[in-house]
Symmetry: C2
Subunit: 128 residues, 2 copies
DNA sequence: CTTGACCTTCCAGTCACTGGAACCCCTATC
DNA sequence: GATAGGGGTTCCAGTGACTGGAAGGTCAAG
């Protein structure tokens, strides 16, 4: 399988797949002409990484998850630990964004949004 | 005022203030010895930028807000428009994160998290 | 006169790609 | 055989918003 085919099947840009090779997540074979040759194993890894990235896992977490995925003697506790840590990060980000959302929507409500210069949003931003 | 003093007062790292000068958000005077000299105007701008960044506005939005802040003939409608656009971005990010949170917490619940290798989290990630 | 805190510039690294240039390979058609 | 196109390859640079560190200049106190 060429990179174009695996790109479609894993739903990842070819550039991204080359990048994943660069950083050592995958190691596809090479043909005589220099083209990468992907087998089912590499495709599965790419699908796996794509899903993990879509859940917001960082590259180092993907690396760890991939290692566990390939380790028949893994303990599911290890996977769960990584997932729970990530869940906490997500919750912190959501909390941050919700705090911003609350403040900002209050300010937007307070702003007339007309042709006059007076603006509670700017007032709040410049308040010390 | 030296950069250290303004750093404390605006609650921004000195490195960040220098960076803001690099990208043209502020233009403090220079003393004979090469040190930056900050006045109240520059301090106010930095406080303003700090608050805008804390609400998640990007640098180009900060630039636009700062220009409006300094424009006596502004219309609050312009400020409100920028703020509303940003609010939408925040809402999209929250929605993304909540989707991840939902999927991930379901998977975590389904995972025994013990010494056995079977793991619904890995199963889901590798599913095509 | 030295110490230490503060200031300066510049370069490199972060994260996870992404865009572009320049070039090679393979197949099909004229 | 020439050519056109749609693959593929490498390498370099840029993104956003800083951040760390090195190497060195400045200033006030003891």
């Amino acid at each position: 399988m060429n990179i174009g085919e695996v790109s479609k099947r894993a739903n990842l840009p070819a550039k991204t797949i080359r990048y994943y090779e660069d950083v050592g997540l995958i190691s596809p074979e090479r043909r005589e002409n220099g083209y990468r040759e992907f087998g089912e194993v590499e495709l599965n890894k790419l699908v796996f990484i794509g899903h993990a990235r879509a859940l917001g896992f960082g590259m180092s977490e993907c690396r760890d998850l991939l290692a566990l995925y390939e380790d028949d003697a893994r303990e599911s506790a290890e996977v769960k630990k990584i997932a729970r840590n990530h869940l906490v990060q997500i919750e912190e980000k959501i909390a941050d964004l919700q705090r911003m959302h609350g403040t900002l929507s209050d300010l937007i409500s307070a702003c007339a949004g007309d042709e006059r210069p007076n603006c509670p949003i700017l007032n709040q931003l410049s308040a010390s």
